[in-house]
Symmetry: C2
Subunit: 244 residues, 2 copies
C-alpha cells in the first residue's frame, strides 16, 4: 500500500523533507492534500488530522499514514521512514545520531521561519515587519554561520569520510541538508553568498544530493513545489541585506 503524506498543498514547507525522501527512494506515495478525491484535499487532511476518530492527532501537518500507523512531526516521520527507505543506518546509536542531525535541521528551519514571523504565526508578515528586520539580521549574521559551521564540522569528523553526514552512504539527513541549504539560499541569497563558499564540504554534499538520479528527476518535475512567500523560506529583499 502506498504511503500517504498529509501536508499543505501549495508550499514545500516542512512536508518537503518527507516528500524528498519518498521521491529519492522511488516508493509509491499519495500527496493527499494535492489530490481531489474523497477524503483528499485540504479538507481531507484536516479531517484525518483532527477528526474525532484520530487517536494520534498531530498538532500540525505534516503527518504520514502507513496502513494503520499515523506519525506526525517531520523528524519523527523520517525516523520511521529512514530504515524502510534504505536512507538510514540500522544500528541504534547511528540511527539516533542521524535523528539528532534532523532535529538540529528542524531547529534551524524553525528559526528561519521566525525571521518573517518573530511575533506571531497568526499575524501576517506585514504586521511584524520591523521585528522581522531585527530578527533576520541576527539569523543572517549569527545563526546561519553557526549552523553551517556545525554541519561542516560533523562532515569533517565523520569517520567514514566527509561525503555524507552519517556513514559511508546517503541518508535522509543528506537530503534534508540539501533542502536546508536550498531554502536558506532562496531566502537569503546575499547572506548565503557570503557564508556558504567557505563551508566546502557542505557545498559538495548539497551538489552531490542534487545529482542523485531520482532526486534530480524530482527536482525538475511538476511534483516539486517551488519556494514561495507563503512558505517557511521566503525571499523578502528587506530581510537579506547586501552587506553584513
Amino acid at each position: 500500500m502506498a504511503y500517504e503524506l498529509y501536508y499543505w498543498p501549495t508550499i514545500p514547507g516542512r512536508g518537503e523533507f518527507v516528500r524528498q525522501a519518498l521521491e529519492d527512494a522511488g516508493v509509491d506515495y499519495v500527496d493527499i492534500a494535492r489530490e481531489k478525491g474523497a477524503g483528499q484535499g485540504v479538507k481531507g487532511m484536516m479531517a484525518a488530522m483532527s477528526g474525532a476518530e484520530a487517536t494520534h492527532p498531530s498538532f500540525a501537518p505534516p503527518f504520514l499514514r502507513d496502513g494503520d500507523v499515523t506519525i506526525g512531526q517531520t523528524a519523527n516521520i523520517l525516523l520511521y521512514l529512514g530504515g524502510r527507505l534504505g536512507l538510514a543506518p540500522q544500528e541504534e546509536a547511528a540511527r539516533l545520531w542521524t535523528h539528532q542531525i534532523q532535529l538540529t535541521i528542524a531547529d534551524c528551519v524553525a528559526e528561519a521561519h521566525d525571521t518573517h514571523h518573530p511575533i506571531a504565526v497568526d499575524l501576517y508578515y506585514e504586521d511584524q515587519k520591523p521585528e522581522a528586520a531585527r530578527r533576520a539580521k541576527s539569523f543572517r549574521e549569527d545563526r546561519i554561520p553557526k549552523f553551517l559551521d556545525w554541519f561542516e564540522t560533523i562532515l569533517a569528523r565523520n569517520p567514514d569520510g566527509d561525503a555524507h553526514l552519517v556513514g559511508a552512504t546517503a541518508s535522509y539527513v543528506d537530503l534534508s541538508a540539501h533542502l536546508l541549504v536550498s531554502g536558506l539560499d532562496y531566502a537569503f541569497p546575499n547572506a548565503m553568498a557570503r557564508h556558504l563558499p567557505a563551508r566546502k564540504r557542505l557545498v559538495r554534499l548539497a551538489q552531490a544530493v542534487a545529482e542523485r538520479p531520482r532526486f534530480a528527476a524530482y527536482l525538475s518535475s511538476r511534483r516539486r513545489l517551488p519556494f514561495n512567500e507563503q512558505g517557511i523560506f521566503r525571499r523578502y529583499r528587506e530581510l537579506d541585506a547586501a552587506r553584513p
Copy 2:
C-alpha cells in the same frame, strides 16, 4: 556505569526533562556541569560537546553519555532512555507516538523561550522588551490554549484511559507534560489561571506525576534547580497580563 548528563548548571532548562526522567526512574547519573572534578563543570561540558575528539558533537546542551554512546537533542535523549528507564512503551508505533508528543512539547518550550527572546538569543531580554511584549501576548492568548487543548484531546482519546498520555502506565511524556505545565505556570501565572482549570485531564495528570514517590522526593531535594530568570520559563510581570 552511571549515565552522564551534560547541561547548564544553574537553570532547569531543557536538561530538566532528562533529569526528571532519570530521577523518576531512580537510576544513577552524574550531572556533569554541576560537579567540580576533572572533566566536569561547564568547562568539562564544553570540552565534551565540541572538543576535537567528539565525532557526534551536539549543537547545544543537553546531551547524554552512556558508555561510548553520546546523544544530543532533548527529545532524542528521552527516546533513547525511555525503554531503558521503563518509561516508554516497547512497540514501535507507540514508541513513535510517545516521541511525537515529546517533540510537540519541545515546540511549545521553544515558543515559551521566544516570548522573552523574540529577536535574538544572543541579546538580553532588556534589548528586546517591546517585541517580547507583543510575542508574549500571542503566546499567552492563542498558543497556550491551543497546546493545552491538544494535550487534553490526546488524553481524552487515549484508548487505555485518560490517566496517561500514552498507554495505561506512566511514560516520560507524562513527566514532561508536568514540567511544561509547571514552567508555564511559573512564567504566566495569570494566563494559566485562566486557561488551565478547564483542561481537567491535564491538571489531574500533572498532579498525579507530582505525587509519584521518587518524583516528589526529587522535587523537594536540593538537586532540583528552581525556575529562574536565566532559564526558558521566566516570570516577567509585564509579559503576563492580569487580563486577556
